[in-house]
Every structure is written in structure tokens, then in C-alpha cells.
């Protein structure tokens, strides 16, 4: 600052903004000091430069105003939701009050239970705040019953984990991002799982307070949705749920879980094929369209990722046992097929052996079925390296159901008993009393392991820093080179494992996979299971997703198939079949709808695919049309601007070497810790085509039955030519004399499905 003249003064002088007196002062200073004049000159340059930057037209997107309006609309919607939520709270509170005052504690407990079912998180917190003044009033009025009731309600609501987690750890929800900016806004995510347990606690306490017997039936009552009148239900049910409910009443669909108040639909950004998620009451599945029939002349190559999940099958079993058919989106036929064991020969050399069979389709005249089985080598039963397993267990309140945490504990005990002294097992819990439950312990210390498992309990407020980071950290600390290092995530659908969003979780899993720690997911219970996410996580973690619906299934996954489920023989396994147009004119891959790969992905080592465990097999079924078949290939609409290539006679290579090949199966795979893939080719000989379905193997007949059953449940367009009755006869024939439990169970499920779908026929008419 020269002569008390600041740069800003010079600037203002230059802009002619100064008051007269100041102007004079500056002018005089300039006259008197050459230094100042020099400074002014150099400043002037800057002033001019700054001026030059003016009037630069901003580059605004043409749809900017539309984007703004979109934001305005969603803000309005949020506000509306909030208003409706508050009305729901107020209404339920009024019910509670009238219940307590007029009808007595038992009724008010029921009213409160129903009300709380519609409220979650912050809504519950507000309820609590409303209870407090009433509690005080009741105490002042010396009304024991009322004050006990309100105080209990207030305290219970306080300990509702929903209150804690909403205010102390909100989940981030990414607003739609434009360009490269990342603005994350915190929105509380409504999550109903924590309330369900707490409401039982509350109603029990309230009833005890009123000297009534506590309700012996601790099971959730979905029917209590009916205790509130229609208008209130409508108020509480969001628009999406209403449509789902409408859809649900039409068909036998998924079990109605609690209607949710205005849930933010989580859109997964991971799946490359834009999969929209069908929301039916709380269970979420991905939506994929089924594979069409393809002409070999146009596209002779079928590529897909080898997948050995089985969750879809056990999920279907669970639903049929409850008298419902699964939603078509929940049906993944390849998982049904691969649930069962087929008699494939073990590979004599190399990691894989291929068994295949071709016979006419029993239900589709003129078409054939090609059953291909890829069997992985069975590793030695006893490997000299120990396993390093970390269980990451969901212990939120909602896990306190007989088919959830207790079943999980039994499963864990099962696994623990098989741990050898060289194996290590650790347990980390999350979403409740989070933290380390069992430090990585050798299999020799069965007592401690068993104790830690028994001590797991659901509920408690969210505290501690348990979660996935801890689980991976422990896996890393106890890493055993060249062996199984795996985190097993067991949950009923909650992923609040300590990451800020599902995408962040996916990234973490991928990162850790690269470092050698794989991830398997186990699903339990119903009403909240998010199969889509569970599958994706398992995919990302080079592991599998299993749905444990019973102890039997737990034994299958964690005892019988444990070796193949945990020990990866080959990763990123891709299968490709190329059909020879001389013999095959059309093909259709049954299942693997969401596993399809592009032809070029086959050799692209960066493209992730499925993992195959030791001794595992992957079975795929194609429906093919042989050349010369009277069935006309599905006609395409004629081209307008070009002449159609002569597609009538398939252009086959005149090389006679392949004359006897129907096609070829190629397998590409990587070693569990490798980066480069290897390929193995297996020709499919046309001489293996059987002329009659009758003479096909039992395995073949059974697989066909499973596939057709799956197609029926999937409501496939290719299931139009047969009925469930046909499938049932097929199954019965296939299991005749078979003692395999799983297959007999399947036959029972088909029969049950027949009854559910009303195709059973009248008992009296038989």
C-alpha cells in the first residue's frame, strides 16, 4: 500500500467510482509520486485483463431449465412424503391416545404395534418425542397406568435402533449426477427391518404393565395390516407399493411383507445390462428378459459366464412350501438345474471334463435338447494348507426370527465342527451390537468357537465399528497364501456393513478380491431378502450366493458341498458353444438370462465371469433345432433397403473335418490367483444324438423336467405348448426308482406347484 493508497482505491479510481473528495486525493497522490504512477500503470494492465474476461457467454446445457424443474419436482415429492409421514404419525398417535384412554392398554398396545409398523427411523423418533409430554402429564396426574404406558412407549422408542441410526449415521443417497461433479446429499433412508422386533418388545411391555398376560404368539402378524382402516392404509402405503399390492392380489405372488412408508428405490449402477429391479413388498430381484431362439446362420456363437449359485432354487422351495409361486423374476433356471448332482465323470487330465447328451425334447415336438455338463476336478479332500474364514454376521433386530439368526447359528456350528487345527475362523457382527465376536481362532479350539457362536444375539443399538472393513482386516491379518481366504456375509437383507452406499460396498469387495480375499453371501429369512444385491456382491467377490431356507440346506451348502463352495478351482470361467450350421439351424439357451456375454468377451480377460469350485459341475441346457427339421426357423420381417442374403441354406465350411461335429464347447478359465486365461475345447459329436427321449439317461430326463418346470414358473413364452401336468408326468417318470432325496423333494415341489396353480384337478373326480 503506497502512500495509503490501496490497490482497490486505484481500481475504483480507474473505474471512476470514487466520491469527489477521494478522487481528488488519489489524483494528487498520483501526481506527487512517480512510484505510485508506475504502480498504477502495472495495475491498469491487470484491470484491463480482468475486464476482458467479462461477457464470456456461459456454456449452459440446453436442458438446464428442465433439469432444474426435475429437481424441483423431486423436492416437492420429498416434501409431500414428509407431510404424509407426519399425518400418519399424528393419526397413529391419536389412535394410541384414544386406545389408552378409552379402550385400555391391550387395545392400545395393538394399535401402537400396527402404527409402528408404518413408521420407521425418524418417524419413530418423532413419536417418541410426542410421547414424552404425555408421559409427564400422566405422571403429574398420578395416573399409574397411563404414565407407565407412555413412559414405556417413549423409552422403547428411544432405544429403537431406527432412531439411533437415522440420526447418527444416515446413508448417503446419490442424487443424479451430471458431468463430473459429485454432490452427495444426505437423505435418511427408510428401512423397516429394525422396527419389527421393537414393536414386539413394546407391546409386550405395555401389556405386562397393564397386568395382562403377554402375547404368547411372538410371530409377526401380517394380518394386522387390517386393523387399520383402508384410508389409513392408503395413507401409509406408497404409490409403488400400491401397484405391487394390486399386482399381488391378482396372482399367487410373493409373501406380503410389511408395507413400507415411501421407500427410496435403490437403483444399482453396477449391472452392465441395465437391469431394473422389481419391487414387490420388500423382496427384490433383478429383471432380465429370457433368451430368445437364435438362428445359427446369423449368430452361431453362444457365450455365457459359468455360474453355480443355487439361491433361486432354495428360494422357490421356500415359497412353494408356503403355498405360493415365485415371481417370474425370481426364477433363474440355471440355478434350478445346477442345484442337483448329475453323474459326470471326473476329469482325467486338466481341470475340466465335459459330458453331453442330445435327445429329442419330450414336450416340444421337433426340437432337441442338448445337455452339457462341465465337471471341475475334485481337489484332494485334505489339502495341506489351512483355510482362513471370517464370518460377517447381521445381528440387527430383524434377525431375531427362527429362520434367521438361530438357523445361522446352527449353520455356523456345522461349519465350525469341520474346521481343522490348521484352519482359522473369525466372527464379526454388524448392524446391532457390532464388533469382533471371535478373533481368528484355530479349529482346534472348538470350545471357544462354539461359545462365541452361541452368544450371538440379535438386537441392541448400533454401536461399535463392526462391519466389513473389520472383517477384511482380520482376513488380511490371517492370510494364508495359496489357500482359501474368504469372508462370508450372512444377512437377511441389510447391507449397512459400514460402507456409505451399495456402490462403495461393491468397490470394496472388488478391491479386496484383487488382494486375494473372496466373498460369499448367505441369505436368510423372508420379506427383506434382496437377492439382486446378494448375487451381485457374491459375483464381485468371486464367490457364490446361497439362500439358506432350512437346516437341510445349511448342511448342503456348508457341509456336503463345502469344499466346492469355498475352494475355487478356477475363476472367471466362461463357456462358449459354437454350433455347426450343417447340423443345427436354431438354438436357445435355457436359463443364464443374466449371464450372457458378448462373443468378444470370451477372450477378454478383463471381463469378470463365474467361479467354479472343486468338484463342482455346471450344467447348461440348450433347446436346438436340427437342420433339415420340418420346423421353419422363425421368420424375420423382410428388409426394405437391402437384399436379404441367401440364408435358406446355411453357409458351412466345406472342410469335412467338422462334418461329424454338432458344435464345439470352449471353456476359458483362470487359475484362482492368475490373470491370464487358458482355453480348453471339447467338440460335441453329432453321433451322440439319440433318436428317442425314452432311451435318454435318467439325468437327462430329470434335467429336462427341471428346465421345463423352471420355464413354466418364469412364465416363459416357450412354455405355452405344455402344462404343469405334463411336467409333473415327466418328473415322475424321471425319478422312478430314484432314492436321491433332493430329486424326490423336487418332484414334491412340482406336485405342490400344480396344486397352487389350480391345475391339480379335483380329488373327488379321480
Amino acid at each position: 500500500m503506497k502512500n495509503n493508497i490501496a490497490s482497490s482505491d486505484l481500481h475504483r479510481f480507474w473505474k471512476d467510482e470514487l466520491a469527489q473528495s477521494d478522487k481528488v486525493r488519489v489524483a494528487q497522490a498520483l501526481e506527487n509520486s512517480a512510484e505510485l504512477r508506475a504502480e498504477f500503470e502495472s495495475q491498469r494492465k491487470l484491470f484491463e485483463q480482468l475486464d476482458a474476461v467479462r461477457n464470456v457467454p456461459a456454456r449452459v446445457s440446453p436442458d438446464f431449465s428442465k433439469q432444474v424443474l426435475k429437481k424441483v419436482n423431486s423436492w416437492k415429492k420429498e416434501r409431500l412424503y414428509m407431510v404424509r409421514n407426519i399425518s400418519a404419525i399424528a393419526l397413529s398417535f391419536m389412535l394410541l391416545v384414544s386406545g389408552v384412554l378409552v379402550l385400555g392398554p391391550k387395545v392400545s398396545a395393538q394399535a401402537l404395534s400396527s402404527a409402528l409398523m408404518y413408521l420407521e427411523g425418524s418417524a419413530g423418533a418423532l413419536m417418541m418425542l410426542l410421547c414424552v409430554p404425555f408421559a409427564l402429564w400422566a405422571v403429574l396426574k398420578k395416573n399409574l397406568r397411563l404414565s407407565a404406558g407412555f413412559c414405556t412407549a417413549a423409552l422403547s422408542l428411544f432405544f429403537l435402533r431406527g432412531f439411533n441410526s437415522t440420526f447418527f449415521s444416515t446413508k448417503d443417497v446419490h442424487i443424479e449426477q451430471t458431468g463430473s461433479a459429485h454432490l452427495e446429499r444426505q437423505l435418511p433412508v427408510y428401512n423397516d427391518t429394525r422396527v419389527s422386533r421393537s414393536l414386539e418388545v413394546i407391546s409386550g411391555m405395555l401389556e405386562r404393565m397393564a397386568d395382562q398376560k403377554p402375547a404368547d404368539n411372538r410371530q409377526r402378524q401380517p394380518a394386522s395390516a387390517g386393523t387399520l382402516s383402508e384410508p389409513v392404509q392408503d395413507l401409509a402405503l406408497g404409490v409403488e407399493s400400491k401397484d405391487a399390492r394390486r399386482a399381488a392380489t391378482g396372482k399367487e405372488l410373493v409373501v406380503p411383507a410389511f408395507p413400507r412408508v415411501f421407500v427410496e428405490r435403490e437403483t444399482s449402477a453396477y449391472q452392465p445390462q441395465s437391469a431394473s429391479v422389481a419391487v414387490l413388498s420388500g423382496e427384490r430381484y433383478g429383471q432380465y428378459s429370457e433368451n430368445p431362439r437364435i438362428n445359427v446362420s446369423e449368430n452361431p456363437v453362444s457365450t455365457f459366464a459359468a455360474d453355480v449359485d443355487t439361491g433361486s432354487y432354495s428360494n422357490m422351495r421356500r415359497l412353494i412350501r408356503q403355498g405360493m409361486l415365485p415371481s417370474p423374476d425370481a426364477v433363474r433356471i440355471e440355478e434350478y438345474l445346477n442345484y442337483f448332482k448329475y453323474s459326470y465323470s471326473n476329469p482325467s487330465e486338466g481341470p475340466f471334463a465335459v459330458d453331453y447328451e442330445i435327445a429329442p425334447s419330450p414336450l416340444e415336438t421337433g426340437r432337441f435338447l442338448l445337455k452339457v455338463g462341465v465337471k471341475a476336478r475334485q481337489a484332494q479332500a485334505v489339502s495341506d494348507k489351512g483355510w482362513n474364514i471370517v464370518f460377517l454376521v447381521d445381528v440387527s433386530g430383524s434377525m431375531d426370527e427362527p429362520d434367521k439368526l438361530p438357523l445361522l447359528q446352527q449353520s455356523l456350528q456345522l461349519l465350525a465342527r469341520q474346521m481343522r487345527p490348521i484352519d482359522r475362523i473369525a466372527i464379526v457382527s454388524y448392524a446391532g451390537a457390532a464388533g469382533l465376536r471371535l478373533a481368528s481362532t484355530s479349529g482346534a479350539d472348538q470350545a471357544n468357537i462354539s461359545r462365541a457362536i452361541t452368544e450371538l444375539s440379535a438386537g441392541g443399538s448400533t454401536n461399535g465399528s463392526g462391519g466389513i472393513e473389520l472383517a477384511y482386516e482380520i482376513a488380511k491379518q490371517n492370510f494364508i497364501q495359496g489357500s482359501v481366504n474368504r469372508v462370508v456375509l450372512a444377512t437377511d437383507g441389510d447391507f449397512n456393513v459400514g460402507t456409505t452406499s451399495f456402490d462403495a460396498l461393491m468397490n470394496l469387495v472388488e478391491q479386496k478380491r484383487r488382494s486375494g480375499v473372496t466373498l460369499t453371501t448367505l441369505g436368510f429369512g423372508q420379506g427383506n431378502i434382496n437377492e439382486h444385491n446378494m448375487e451381485q456382491l457374491a459375483d464381485q467377490g468371486n464367490g457364490n450366493y446361497f439362500y439358506i431356507d432350512s437346516f437341510r440346506e445349511a448342511r448342503k451348502v456348508l457341509e456336503q458341498d463345502m469344499l466346492s463352495n469355498f475352494e475355487v478351482l478356477a475363476k472367471d470361467v466362461k463357456l462358449q458353444v459354437e454350433f455347426n450350421p450343417t447340423h443345427v439351424s436354431q438354438y436357445r439357451l435355457i436359463g443364464f438370462d443374466n449371464r450372457k456375454l458378448n462373443r468378444e468377451d470370451f477372450t477378454n480377460d478383463l471381463k469378470d465371469a463365474g467361479e467354479v469350485g472343486s468338484g463342482h459341475s455346471v450344467t447348461a441346457l440348450y433347446e436346438i433345432t436340427l437342420s433339415g427339421s420340418p420346423l421353419i426357423p422363425d421368420a424375420l420381417p423382410a428388409l426394405r433397403y437391402q437384399d436379404e442374403k441367401q440364408a435358406a441354406a446355411p453357409v458351412a465350411k466345406s472342410d469335412t473335418r467338422f462334418q461329424n461335429e454338432l458344435g464345439i464347447l470352449r471353456i476359458r478359465y483362470k487359475a484362482p490367483d492368475g490373470d491370464r486365461s487358458t482355453q480348453a475345447d471339447f467338440p460335441l459329436l453329432s453321433s451322440k444324438v439319440s433318436g428317442e427321449f425314452k432311451s435318454a439317461s435318467k439325468d437327462f430326463k430329470f434335467a429336462a423336467a427341471v428346465a421345463y418346470f423352471g420355464q413354466f414358473l418364469r412364465q416363459s413364452q416357450f412354455a405355452r405348448n405344455y402344462t404343469l401336468n405334463d411336467v409333473n408326468s415327466l418328473v415322475q417318470e424321471a425319478i422312478a426308482g430314484d432314492s436321491d432325496e433332493a430329486r424326490r423333494e423336487f418332484a414334491q415341489l412340482v406336485s405342490d406347484a400344480k396344486a397352487i396353480s389350480g391345475q391339480g384337478g379335483r380329488a373327488l373326480e379321480r
Binding site: 482497490s8 491487470l46 484491470f47 485483463q49 467479462r54 456454456r59 431449465s65 429437481k71 423436492w75
Partner: protein, 195 residues
């Protein structure tokens, strides 16, 4: 000084002002089309200012959307004595401040220091575009509170009084910030031209 002076400075003819007042009234009543027109009227200016503040067109647009959303939310609170654009600018600067304080920005900071995102638009006058790059780069190295005074006064052409009013600061603060900003910029530019 009174905000009325700002009205004079910014050459808004009476009829424009009237029609804008009408738009504001309709938007307040819930007319989305009216609000959209308002947005279109001011979007260039707001995005422009934010671009200069943040050195990134993409971020500026994101922020600008926030600004208009906030404007919509507090439309009721807007009193017709102030000018709508001044009010918007205030919101814009507040939003920019929040952004600078956010974690998202802190991680981008390093990039911004040497950002060349701001492209020259005038293909003809290379001199001017060089200047613009120079100035923008220098601007991006200033701290936000200095940057905003420079943007308002030197680039947007506000007078010191108008800037003081828009930023809700005493004019002395504005002057001293401007001084520091100008000195810093001169240093930065002379350093880079000496290369």
C-alpha cells in the same frame, strides 16, 4: 447504499422488470412454466459466475441447479424490493461457499490449481483468449473469499457498493479483500508470463 441503485446500474428497463415481477408472482403461486422462464432468464449469468468461481463448467452447472432449487424453495421469502438477480447471486455465492467447504471440493482442489477447463471461446482474438486463460488460472488460485469479490467487481462489473450489498459485507472489507486479491493476481500473472 440502497439496492435501488443496483436497479439503475443494471439497465433493466421498466417493462422487463414488470414482466419479471409477474413471472415471480406466478412461480410463487406454483406455476412451473413461469419458474422455468425465470430460470432461463438468469441461467447464463448464474452459471457464468459460478464457472468463474469454480473453474469448472460441469461443477458450475450442478451448483447452479442447486441455486435455482433453493430459489424455488425460498421464493416466498423473496421480497420484491430487492432485485431478483441480486438475490440469486447471493444464493449462488452461498452455495459456492458450501461447495468449497465440502469434502468433494477438497479432493478436487489440486486439479483446480492447474485447471485448464475453462476454454477460450473467441476463436478469432487469440490475444483475448490467452488473457482469459491467464486470468482464469490466476483466479482459480485465489481463496474463495477473494475470488468472489474479483468475480463480482472486476468481471461482473458490480461497483464496490453493489458488491458489498450483494455479499452482505461492509465496504471496507470488500475493498481490503479486493486489494489483496489484485495484488495476488498481479503476482501470479507476472510469474506465469515470465516463464
Amino acid at each position: 447504499m440502497k439496492l435501488a441503485s443496483i436497479v439503475q446500474e443494471h439497465e433493466v428497463s421498466e417493462s422487463d422488470e414488470d414482466s419479471e415481477a409477474l413471472l415471480i408472482a406466478s412461480a410463487r403461486a406454483g406455476d412451473h412454466a413461469a419458474f422455468e422462464s425465470l430460470v432461463r432468464l438468469h441461467q447464463d449469468r448464474i452459471v457464468g459466475q459460478l464457472t468463474r468461481m469454480t473453474s469448472s463448467a460441469d461443477v458450475a452447472e450442478e451448483l447452479a441447479q442447486e441455486v435455482f432449487l433453493k430459489a424455488y424453495q425460498s421464493l416466498r421469502a423473496f421480497r420484491s424490493q430487492s432485485k431478483f438477480s441480486t438475490w440469486l447471486i447471493r444464493i449462488a455465492f452461498n452455495t459456492a461457499h458450501t461447495y468449497f467447504a465440502s469434502s468433494a471440493f477438497r479432493s478436487r482442489r489440486k486439479e483446480i490449481e492447474f485447471s485448464t477447463e475453462h476454454e477460450a471461446r473467441d476463436q478469432g482474438a487469440t490475444e483475448i483468449s490467452e488473457t482469459r486463460q491467464l486470468v482464469t488460472a490466476a483466479l482459480s488460485q485465489l481463496k474463495p473469499k477473494f475470488r468472489e469479490v474479483v468475480v463480482l467487481i472486476a468481471i461482473e462489473g458490480f461497483s464496490y457498493e453493489q458488491a458489498a450489498d450483494a455479499l452482505q459485507l461492509p465496504i471496507g472489507t470488500v475493498s481490503s479483500r479486493m486489494t489483496t486479491a489484485l495484488d495476488q493476481m498481479r503476482r501470479i500473472i507476472s510469474r506465469s508470463t515470465q516463464l
